[in-house]
C-alpha cells in the first residue's frame, strides 16, 4: 500500500530575530495517520520545528528562514498559519495561554467559526470533539473554573474539532498527573490524523508512537521506527529510553531534627470544599519527602502551607529554621531586571553569593542579562538558584520537573540528593515517580481546584 506523504520539510534552517539558529538543515517527511514522537533536550529546536509545521515560523515570529516546508501541498512561505489552520492544528504546553473564550463550548467552536464551517455543523462538531476527549460534561462550564487537566482536554477538543490532517502537540501533558496524561494520550491515539507529539516524559510518547525523531542542537540525530529507536536510545541516550533517573535513597534510619510539622491540617479556598482534610506530616533534616497525588489532590496547597505562604483553616504548623519555596513554572515569576539581582534578592542584595550561585548553576554568562531573555530551561535553573542561595533549612519545590528534559531531570535529582546530604530538608510536590525521595506521601481524594486558585 502506498503511504501518503502529508508534510515535507526540506533543508529547513531558522533563527529567531537576534538569536542563533534554532533549527539547522532539517529535512523529513511526515505520513498520513502516523504518530511521531519528537524528543530532545530543551532548546534543541523541537518547538521551533512544530511552529514551522504550523506556519507560525516565520510568519508570526519573524527571523531568518531558509529551506521549504510544505503541508498537504501548501508551502508555508506563501500560506500563513491562519490559512493552514484546519489542515494543521496545534496544542501548546500551557493551556492558560491559548484559551480565548470564556465558556467551553464557545472555546471549541472558536476555530470552527474562524474556518467558516457551516453554522448548522458547528455545534454537532463541538459536541463530538468534546466527547472524543471525554469532556462532554464540561459543556457550558466557564474556562476559568476548570483545572489545568480539564483545560488541556478542552484545548485538544478545540484542535480535534477542526478535523486536521496534522495535529501538533507541544508538551501537552506536562501539567497533568499520570492518569490525566494517560487519558489525554488515549484521546490522541484515537485521532484520525497524523500526530507529532513533542514530549519530555519519553515513556508516554514512545507508548503511542509509530516513529521517533530526536533533535539535538537544532539537528535531527535520530529518525527511526519506534522499535529501532528504542534500541538506539538505550545504547546512546539511556535516559531517554526509560532508564531510571536515580534510585530512591534508603529511608533514613536516624531522622534529623524536624523542620516542619503539620498536625491535622485542614484548608479550603474561600467558601469552597476542603482541599486538605486533616493532613499530618513531618519533614526532617537530611531527607527528601515527595508529595504525590492526582491534579487537585492538594499537593501545591500543602507545599505552600509547609513553606509558610498559606495559613491552614485549622490544625497546627510548627516550623524550625528558614524555608524557601519554588513555585510551579518559576520562569514566569522572575521579578528583577538582571539575573544577578534576581538571585541576590534572597540574600539582601549580596552579589558575591549570588554570583557564586549563578556559577554553580551554569548561569555565569547570564549575570547581567534580563531573566526574560533566557530560555525556559535557563529560567528554571535561575529560579532554583534564587531559592537555594539563602541556604535554607527547608526547601519546598512545587513540580520542579515540569517540562524539563531527562538530562536536566537527572541533574536536578542529583542536586536534591546533595541538598539532603548537606542536612537540608526537601519537600517536593511532584507527579514524577522518578525523582528520588526518602519517603513518598500520597494525597488522595482530589478536590477540583480551578487554575485561578
Amino acid at each position: 500500500m502506498a503511504v501518503e506523504v502529508l508534510a515535507t520539510v526540506d533543508g529547513l534552517s531558522f533563527g529567531y530575530p537576534g538569536g542563533v539558529a534554532a533549527v539547522r538543515d532539517v529535512s523529513l517527511e511526515l505520513y498520513a495517520g502516523e504518530v511521531v514522537a519528537l524528543l530532545g533536550p530543551s532548546g534543541s529546536g523541537k518547538s521551533t520545528l512544530l511552529r514551522a509545521l504550523a506556519g507560525l515560523v516565520p510568519h508570526f515570529h519573524g527571523g531568518r528562514f531558509s529551506g521549504r516546508v510544505e503541508i498537504a501541498g501548501l508551502d508555508t512561505r506563501s500560506h500563513g498559519p491562519a490559512e493552514l489552520a484546519g489542515t494543521v492544528a496545534s496544542v501548546f504546553q500551557d493551556p492558560e495561554d491559548q484559551v480565548v473564550m470564556t465558556r467551553v463550548e464557545n472555546e471549541v467552536a472558536f476555530g470552527l467559526e474562524n474556518l467558516g464551517v457551516a453554522p448548522e455543523l458547528i455545534w454537532p462538531r463541538v459536541e463530538a470533539a468534546l466527547a472524543d476527549v471525554g469532556a462532554s460534561q464540561l459543556w457550558a462550564r466557564r474556562t476559568v473554573e476548570l483545572s489545568g487537566g480539564e483545560l488541556q482536554r478542552v484545548c485538544l477538543a478545540s484542535a480535534l474539532a477542526l478535523e486536521p490532517q496534522l495535529l501538533l502537540l507541544d508538551e501537552p501533558t506536562s501539567q497533568l498527573d499520570a492518569g490525566g496524561a494517560e487519558g489525554f494520550l488515549a484521546a490522541v491515539e484515537q485521532a484520525h490524523c497524523a500526530v507529532v507529539l513533542c514530549e519530555q516524559r519519553v515513556d508516554r510518547a514512545l507508548a503511542i508512537a509509530d516513529r521517533v525523531i530526536m533533535m539535538e542542537e537544532g539537528r535531527i540525530v535520530l529518525d527511526a521506527p519506534v522499535a529501532e529507536a528504542r534500541v538506539w536510545l538505550s545504547a546512546r541516550r539511556p535516559r531517554y529510553a526509560g532508564g531510571l533517573i536515580a534510585h530512591d535513597p534508603d529511608r533514613r534510619t536516624q531522622a534529623g531534627a524536624p523542620l516542619v510539622r503539620l498536625d491535622d491540617v485542614h484548608f479550603s479556598y474561600g467558601d469552597g470544599p476542603d482541599v486538605l482534610g486533616g493532613i499530618s506530616l513531618v519533614v526532617h533534616r537530611g531527607e527528601i519527602v515527595a508529595l504525590e497525588g492526582q491534579n487537585g489532590s492538594g499537593k501545591t496547597t500543602l507545599a505552600r502551607i509547609a513553606a509558610g505562604l498559606l495559613q491552614p483553616t485549622s490544625g497546627t504548623v510548627t516550623r524550625e529554621g528558614r524555608a524557601t519555596y519554588l513555585s510551579q513554572d518559576p520562569g514566569r515569576y522572575l521579578v528583577r531586571e538582571t539575573a544577578i539581582e534576581e538571585v541576590a534578592l534572597g540574600v539582601a542584595g549580596d552579589e558575591v553569593r549570588a554570583a557564586a550561585a549563578l556559577e554553580s548553576f551554569g548561569l555565569s554568562f547570564a549575570t547581567c542579562r534580563h531573566p526574560r531573555d533566557l530560555s525556559s530551561g535557563e529560567r528554571e535553573r535561575l529560579g532554583i538558584a534564587a531559592v537555594s542561595v539563602p541556604e535554607p533549612d527547608l526547601l519546598v519545590l512545587d513540580e520542579p520537573t515540569r517540562g524539563i528534559d531527562p538530562d536536566r531531570k537527572a541533574a536536578l535529582a542529583a542536586w536534591l540528593l546533595e541538598q539532603a546530604d548537606a542536612g537540608r530538608g526537601v519537600l517536593v510536590a511532584t507527579h514524577d515517580p522518578l525523582l528520588p525521595a526518602h519517603r513518598r506521601v500520597g494525597l488522595d481524594a482530589p478536590v477540583e481546584v480551578p487554575v485561578a486558585a
Binding site: L162, D271, Y325, E337, L345
Partner: protein, 233 residues
C-alpha cells in the same frame, strides 16, 4: 437576558450617572448595581466591588480638600499647602464630592457587573461586523483576573525566598515584571489564535438563541434611562 441588551443597559446606567447630579438617583443606581454584583461567585466578586467602592470613598473623602468651590457654607479652613493651595471644607465641596464619588461607584459597579456576569462570548458573537473589536474588549476584560493571578504569583515568588514586601513601594517593584509577564501572555495568546485561523476571511457564527421579549424591553429601557437622565434628573 442576552449580553447585548445587558451591556447596552449597563452602558446606559453609566451614561445616566454622568448626566444627573442628584444624589438620590446616583445612590439608587449604585445600590441596584451592588445587589446585582452580589450574584457573582464570592471568590471573584470582592476585588471588583471593593475596587469600585474604595475608589468612590477615596473621591468622597479626599477630593473636597483638594480644591475650593468658593460657594456654600465654609465648615473648616486649614493651612495653605504647596501645589494644592488653601485647604478648606465647605458644604458645596462635600456635596460635589459625594456626587462624583457616587458616579465613580456607579461606573465601577457597572463595569463589575459586565466583567462578572455578562457572557462575553455571546457578546462577541453578537457583535457582527465589529467582532474583532468586541473580542479585543472581551480579552482585555479577561486580562484583569489574569493580572490578579500573576501579581499573586509574583508576590508569592518573592515571599517564597523569605523576602517580605512592605507597603506600596514594595508592591510597586512588581509592576514591571507584571507588565512583562502580561505581554508574554498576550504574545502566546495571539500565536494560539492565529494558529486557529483567527483573521481568516469567510468566518461564520455558531447559531445562538434569538432575543426574547426581555431583551427588547432592556434595550428600550436603556434608551429611556438616558433620555430621562438627560431631561429630568
Amino acid at each position: 437576558m442576552s449580553p447585548g441588551p445587558t451591556t447596552a443597559l449597563l452602558a446606559a446606567v453609566a451614561t445616566a450617572a454622568f448626566l444627573t447630579d442628584r444624589i438620590w438617583a446616583l445612590a439608587v443606581m449604585a445600590v441596584i448595581l451592588l445587589v446585582i454584583c452580589l450574584r457573582a461567585p464570592v471568590q471573584r466578586r470582592w476585588l471588583y466591588i471593593g475596587g469600585a467602592l474604595f475608589s468612590a470613598l477615596g473621591v468622597i473623602v479626599i477630593s473636597p480638600l483638594t480644591w475650593s468651590s468658593g460657594g456654600g457654607t465654609l465648615l473648616w479652613e486649614g493651612p495653605t499647602l504647596p501645589v494644592i493651595g488653601p485647604v478648606d471644607l465647605s458644604t458645596d465641596e462635600i456635596q460635589i464630592a459625594i456626587v462624583n464619588g457616587l458616579r465613580l461607584a456607579v461606573v465601577g459597579l457597572a463595569f463589575s457587573v459586565y466583567t462578572l456576569l455578562v457572557d462575553h462570548d455571546r457578546l462577541v458573537s453578537a457583535a457582527g461586523f465589529a467582532r474583532r473589536s468586541a473580542l479585543a474588549v472581551a480579552l482585555a476584560t479577561r486580562l484583569v483576573p489574569a493580572l490578579e493571578r500573576d501579581a499573586a504569583g509574583l508576590a508569592e515568588s518573592v515571599r517564597g525566598r523569605g523576602v517580605e514586601l512592605h507597603g506600596a513601594r514594595g508592591y510597586a517593584t512588581l509592576l514591571s515584571p507584571l507588565v512583562a509577564g502580561s505581554l508574554e501572555r498576550a504574545t502566546g495568546l495571539a500565536e494560539a489564535m492565529e494558529a486557529r485561523g483567527f483573521g481568516r476571511s469567510g468566518a461564520t457564527r455558531a447559531p445562538r438563541s434569538a432575543w426574547t421579549w426581555v431583551d427588547h424591553v432592556a434595550l428600550v429601557a436603556a434608551v429611556l434611562l438616558v433620555g430621562v437622565a438627560a431631561l429630568w434628573l
